[in-house]
Amino acid sequence: MDEIDFEAAFARLEETVRLLEAGGLSLEQSVALFEEGMRLAALCNQRLDSAELRIGKLISGDAGVTRGGQMRLDALMMEIDPIHVSTDRNGDD
């Protein structure tokens, strides 16, 4: 369950609601869908609660757009340095 990404969990949750509302399921299926749906909803909420915005700066030296195989090497060597951007508003620019 931990591997599933937010978008997939969100979509699957919607599907469980749709299936359960459509009805015509066996008792086991209904229970299973309900439990799965509640788990997914909890997971989504937890992801939103615990999310922290990450910002990184791409460091690619002077490589930029070079030719041929060098491009791949440059790309693999790209670093993303975490940077902090102060997000408290203090007036417009």
Partner: protein, 406 residues
Amino acid sequence: METCTVGELTLYLKHLLEGNELLQDVWVEGEVSNYIRASSGHCYFDLIEGGTVLRCVMWRSHAMRWSRLLGNGASVVVHGGITIYPQKGQYQAVVDLVQPQGVGILRLRLEQLRQKLEEEGLFDESRKRELPAFPKRIGIVTSEKGAVLRDIATIVERRYPLVELILAHTQVEGESAPASIVQAIGALNLLHQYREDKQLDLIIVARGGGSMEDLAAFNDEQVVRAVYASRMPVISAVGHETDTTLIDLVADLRAPTPSAAAELAVPDMRDLRAQLNDWSQRLAAAAEAEMEGKREDVAAQMSALQRVSPQVKVEQYRQRIDDLLAGVAVQLRHRLRLDRERLASRTLQLQSLDPKAVLSRGYSIVRFSGDGPVVSSAEQVSTGDALDVQTAHGRYEVVVMYSDEA
């Protein structure tokens, strides 16, 4: 000396003109006169200035766009190439662009570039890509200094902090800006292409407000082409709402400000939470409804079952038996009563036949002595027989003196 034909001369002059680079890229100022729009859609007019005339033609495809600026007396600048129309022995300008006089050379070049790129299809709506609903990683092309990055980050943090933002720093104005922007977009695309773990969902190219000169980099041809070539969708957020640069036309989505770009790029957590709540409630309601339905099904089944249940059958049989027994009992009692009555009457009859009753009425029972047989006829006796006489009270013996068979 050689002679040539009119055709040869004309053709020579035509090639002379058309081979001249300058003459194929002229901007000419003048006043419009003799303007005609043919039914074919082509436009024909003269440009006059200082007593001289230049014949002009604009073909339909360009005329559709620029003919609104043409009218007799209009002061315009036209762009085009000079050629010769052999059938009339006339040189003329084939015009592809019209602007009012006074807009300035920069604006003229910009319009020309815009038209060229549009004709290439770079601005086509059909190629614009949809943005993903739940982006995981967003590239930002802007300056690391200044408020733009901060504004974007603030909004994203408030709405949807699940994403990762990757800044590709760039100059946003000045001579080196176009190349810098192209490199930044290129670097993000390289990252996406070669790093599985750093896949980008979209790019935001942003800069704050400024004059047209400040924003000039975002009208650069190479910048536009870089955005067009980007593997992932691009949101342009350059300048204020009223500023339009070419990047706005080629981008997959145009935002009026960098903050608006952030709002367009990510969903709002508040909406997501509301949706999660709604679904949770509906889940519970649907599950409860299902349970109710199941319970009703079971109850109905139980009802049906009961109707055919052996238990019930047994009860029914018991009931039948009880009823039968009860009936039998009634009949028995009836019979019993009849029998009793019969017995009673028989008893009475018997009683009336009781010898003791006969005796008490004065009769006697005569027997031969020694418990012999009863004498019921005179024929049975002879003179001298000893007889036993039983009366109601006691007995005595007698001897027969005389018998009379009668």
